[in-house]
Amino acid sequence: MGRSVAIVGTGQTVHRSRRDDVSMMELVREAATSALADAEMRASDIDAVILANMELFEGRALPEMWCAMGAGALYKHTLKIATGGTSGTSGAIAGFHHVASGLFDTAMVIGFEKQSDGQTTAGMALTDPMWDRHVASAAIGNFAVSISQYLAARDVDERHSAMVAVKARRNACNNPCAHLQMPDLTVEDVLASPYLAYPIHRLEMCPTTDGACAVIFACEGKAEKLCSRPAWVRAAVTRHDLPYLGDLKDRLLTMRTLRDAARKAYEIVGIREPIKELDVAEIYEPVTYAELAWYECLGFCKEGDAWRLIEDGLTQMDGVLPVNPSGGVLSTNPIGASGTIRTAEAALQIHGKGGRRQVPDVNLALVTGYGVYSWSDVMILSSSKG
């Protein structure tokens, strides 16, 4: 595993549908300076910088060049990672690897997206021009097709999906950075919102957001001096799969990349009953049904029982395993940042800096990232070095 590495500081911008007051580089700086302040470090204390961004969406190639200045990365080892929705977690895992390798003592990872500059049309270029590109239904349509398979295989009804939406947007009210904060949202409101693509209602889908998030990694020896309760990275696993939507049988339900990444991560840490042993989970859920399907993939419950978890409130803030106290991707989705936000939110729970969204006594936290069709990242953070 290399040497031990912990997250010692996090920072986020205020996430909004449009941040007209800043350029992309200034957005990055807002997150970077916030994380540096949190860790009480200076830019010169950072050895390596990893930038995570889906440059395609803003049509700005080489965001690492444009944003180096905003990241305090001048004259430093700097890398960009662009892996779809997993950019933010892939970036975090890359930051962890840099420090674990022994070659860098500290690394700052900044995930960001200035979504309002961009065009969803550009997202179409993510798909294969020969094959998948011609069906112009975007991520929403693709999720909807996968959800039809999930609904056919499971005893879930649309109320369960709506409960996930309500949980997310109400949790977001405890998170001053979150984009969609809806304290009075009800299941009825969600089900009354128009269909985007059957069966997805508008309020069941994630928003598009401008935002950035920074996370600082430090090696053992330094981490303990920088942070009173470092969030140690105990596992970091990435899995990819075949390239076409049609290659992935029952995608949401099966999600073999997530199952395998989680299985491996649990094995590394020695977790046998995730729902009992984990204290908090920040999972990347682009649509409500994904959260339900992935409760099973993550081993939170038996196959087929996801609806029970949400119905019985087990994943609410006062439940046995709070899922997404931050409000999740359903509340805030600057694509390049979303995975870094999951990482930061899990880390700050261990740091004890969750404020109104703090879960009591967090020692073990789960982070997941999701991208395009079926890429998965899983990290496990702990208050103990292991």
Binding site: T121, M130, V135, G141, Q149, A197, L242
Partner: protein
Amino acid sequence: MMHEDEFLRVPITMDLTFRYAAGRYFTHFFREIKDNKRILGVRCAKCRKVYLPPRPFCGECHSRMEDWIEVGPEGTLVGFTVVYFSFHDASLGGVRPTPFGAGLIQLDGADTSLNHYLGESNVANLRIGMRVRPIFKEKREGNISDILYFEVLG
């Protein structure tokens, strides 16, 4: 005139032209559709999985695939949706009229499925497991749109 809070924007439209090499496998696949209205998959000799679209290597076995197999033309609907929101359609150059049906179709003999349009846009008439068949263009060009959509057979 000048306001402290006037935030300016710089609009730039990128006009991108591209020319993708189809490669040997897609070329053969599309030529068969264009010339003979036949849909071909390719089978891995090791794990026996039949892939659509055809591709040179089996992702699971890492072995080269040379066995071409005709699949379909009929198949089974294994996932579906009806899209209600307007979305810029690059192949039309504008917004596709909604609602429209789309889904995953597993052609008979193939182990993977194909993402395509459906000839049905009423959710009440769609179910996983329905049989479907491709409706081809009269004048085919050798690309995925040579199949206009899949007709739902019930």
